[in-house]
Amino acid sequence: MGQPVDLVQGTLDMLILKAVSLGPLHGYGVLLRLGQLTGGQLHIQQGSLYPALYRLERRGLIASEWGESENNRKAKFYTLTPAGRKHLRSETTAWNRFSGLVAGILDAEPEKP
């Protein structure tokens, strides 16, 4: 396992949507889920997580509800809204196209004369 990788600008929102799409999560849970999915290789600034969550909630892509955490404490759980699901789908498509193109460029070999 190498150095943790920093997040590419603008991808945090997409990752949060994906994490929440797998089941309701509280803020800390989002962090754990992303860590678990990446084998701890992705470094996410904890301070930037909540502003992102609030932004998404404000845009109506996720919804929040108070519930009980695993160890019976009150926590705020976020779930994906239908609008969020749609948004995630289009973001995923766009991201896949984009990363494919970037990979294609980076794999380019010098042309043989």
């Binding site: 803020g27 800390y28 904890q46 301070g47 404000r58 955490s69 404490r73 009150k74 705020k76």
Partner: protein
């Protein structure tokens, strides 16, 4: 956002962030860190809690509210320090409101409001028909001829204001009265509150009156003031210029005379007055009305001037404030205040006008009695006039504040900071 919802917003946000840090602490302890170290690390990893909260408030647009509150506090403090300025601005606004409302009431009564008759549009005033009578108007017989021969009008009626000497139960008093032709009220469509209006029959013969003998009608105001709303007033005999007259009805105060804005206590058929003075629509009335119109126009000009002066005063105060706060504004902008925030200086003017209105309206209410006396019985507390004035002044204030505010927004921090 309502205060209690704001409090809920804050507690929920606080609870959520605290949960995060304590959950992280628990995990770190499970990883083998001592409690204190785990707490410290969890906090450090999270970063600025306040910063996150502020971010969230911002994403909900709450910072506008917070900024507004802070600006308002600063404004009030500044006003407290500039008591003289604040007092002048607030007083001029309060006066502006008072004067404007009062004058609007007068203008409304004299010029804007249609006469309370059934068809004000078809009403025509005639003056100086034929030869001048003793008071400058046409002689009474001339009116009679006109009344009986006219085909162009539905009817012709006459009225002439006069102070009248009444004797009620042997006690004499002077009231403001109007001599009317018997058909005046039926022609104008005025309805009696009790009893009946005067009719054409009431002035059929000079000095005698109608079928019930000489009759007169009184206004609702006079009925209230002099007779305590006693319904038995109808049929009561009083003396007018030492002639016995019977009160036949009570009319709404505003229907007593087509001469607006002047209270009339009693109306008596013209044929009961001294025949020498009998006349129609005399020029005197038109002249008096002319004078009143002039007074009204002048008052209206003054009324317009009052808020204008208030506006100029406000502009001065605001411009002065911007000039004095140039240095501070420069620092604010240099530290990242947006130009819009600097423009919130308009707020200062608004605060002044709100305070001015808050003082002006109760003052107008308190002065209502006096104003009413000055305004010939016009109701000065017309809520429409009061509201219109308040809205007008707030608009004026915003306009007055815009110039200085724009200047504040356009400040170059470099120049501003050097301008010490």
């Amino acid at each position: 956002m309502k205060p209690f919802r704001r409090r809920q917003f804050e507690t929920e946000m606080d609870a959520e962030l605290r949960f995060h840090i304590s959950a992280r602490t628990d995990d770190l302890i499970r990883d083998g860190l001592p409690q204190e170290e785990a707490e410290r690390l969890a906090r450090a990893e999270f970063g600025g809690v306040e910063c996150t909260k502020e971010e969230r408030r911002r994403s909900w647009g709450l910072h506008h509210l917070d900024d507004l509150r802070a600006d308002l506090r600063l404004t009030l403090r500044m006003l407290g320090r500039n008591r003289g300025f604040a007092a002048v601005a607030i007083l001029s606004l309060a006066l502006g409101i008072g004067a404007n409302t009062a004058i609007f009431g007068l203008v409304d009564a004299v010029m804007l409001r249609a006469l309370p008759v059934h068809d004000p549009d078809s009403l025509v005033f005639l003056q100086a028909v034929g030869w001048d009578g003793p008071n400058g108007g046409p002689p009474y017989p001339c009116f009679e001829w006109l009344r009986d021969k006219t085909t162009s009008f539905e009817g012709v009626a006459a009225f002439s204001r006069s102070a009248m000497e009444l004797a009620i139960d042997g006690r004499r008093e002077q009231v403001s009265g109007v001599w009317v032709s018997g058909n005046l009220y039926s022609l104008l469509g005025v309805r009696p509150l009790i009893g009946r209006v005067l009719s054409a029959a009431d002035d059929r013969s000079v000095g005698v009156g109608g079928p019930d003998g000489p009759g007169a009608v009184i206004s609702h105001t006079y009925w209230e003031r002099r007779f305590g709303r006693d319904p038995a007033v109808v049929g009561r005999s009083i003396r007018i210029f030492d002639h016995a007259v019977v009160i036949v009805g009570v009319l709404p105060a505003e229907g007593m005379s087509p001469d607006p804005g002047r209270p009339i206590d009693i109306a008596v058929p013209m044929t009961l007055s001294d025949p020498v003075f009998l006349q129609t629509m005399d020029r005197q009335i038109e002249l008096t009305l002319l004078r009143e119109r002039l007074v009204t126009t002048l008052s209206m000009a003054f009324g317009g001037l009052a808020p204008l002066l208030a506006c100029v005063g406000l502009y001065g105060t605001l411009a002065y404030t911007v000039a004095r706060r140039t240095h501070e504004l420069g620092i604010r902008i240099a530290l990242g205040a947006t130009r819009t925030q600097a423009m919130w200086l308009v707020l200062q003017g608004l605060t002044v006008s709100v305070i001015g209105i808050a003082i002006g309206v109760p003052a107008v209410l308190a002065l209502g009695r006096i104003i009413r006396g000055l305004l010939f019985g016009v109701e000065p507390l017309d809520p429409l006039a009061l509201g219109a004035t308040a809205v007008l002044l707030v608009t004026f204030t915003i306009v007055a504040g815009l110039g200085p505010a724009r200047r504040a927004g356009a400040l170059d921090p470099m120049v501003a900071l050097r301008a010490e």
